[in-house]
Symmetry: C2
Subunit: 144 residues, 2 copies
């Protein structure tokens, strides 16, 4: 918990219990949406308000401590910022897995952007499809 507080101070934000808990909860979960975040945080500290969660998500995003992942047709999720991965998003169950991405691929894409005189900051890659679990379920249904 102290690690989180140190990080917060480094970013120029006050090290409140709510913020530290928020980082801890996000890190433990991997990818979490607002509802789940609220529930997990309130399980620890019942009277944290949604308002506080929204405000802090925004501030921590601004400091790039966490990243917002916007998805088609489902709620945004938040994660601790890490740049070199893609998200495998299941169109059926909505699960999200991280997938390491070769840095060379990301670099190649950034270079394409630079060629268009665009100054890239970060690359978000979402791969939509069907996860193995849902794929198996579908196959089973067809057999019946």
């Amino acid at each position: 918990m102290e690690t989180y507080k140190t990080l917060l101070k480094q970013k120029g934000l006050k090290a409140t219990g709510q913020r530290a808990l928020m980082l801890k909860t996000i890190e433990e979960d991997g990818h979490i949406d607002i509802d789940a975040l609220k529930e997990k945080m309130q399980a620890v500290s019942p009277n944290i308000s949604l308002n506080t969660i929204y405000l802090n998500l925004e501030q921590l995003s601004n400091e790039e401590v966490i990243s917002k992942v916007s998805l088609n047709n489902q709620k945004s999720v938040y994660e601790i910022t890490k740049h070199t991965h893609a998200h495998l998003v299941c169109k059926i169950c909505g699960s999200i897995e991280d997938e390491p991405v070769d840095l060379n691929l990301l670099t190649a894409m950034k270079e394409g952007a630079i060629a268009s005189s665009f100054k890239p900051s970060f690359v978000a890659v979402n791969i939509y499809g069907i996860c193995s679990r849902c794929e198996n379920n579908q196959t089973n249904k067809e057999k019946k």
Copy 2:
């Protein structure tokens, strides 16, 4: 306009004027959000309801005629479906440009997903950064 109606029929949807106008408007604009879409459509045909726009966006997305592009911190936009490009999203002015992406890169990323026994359908790549216009503006300000 007839081209759009033919396309709609191919997809098993009734070829209404609203739907054809919607496809035309999206195609002309490239990337359009709901408000702009509503305004442009109502400029042609004033009493189209927002409801209709929402419903048709959903149906056309389901048929993959159009694609929804979900972005961090700004409204989603819609475009005619085309798979092999990335979006350059300016964090300052919000502008969106298309950027051709080498098919090999996309294939490489899909293969990474398949290695995780995930069945990829399509890859969404958003590159966030600063467009040349905003970059120039910032530089100018600093000089003053």
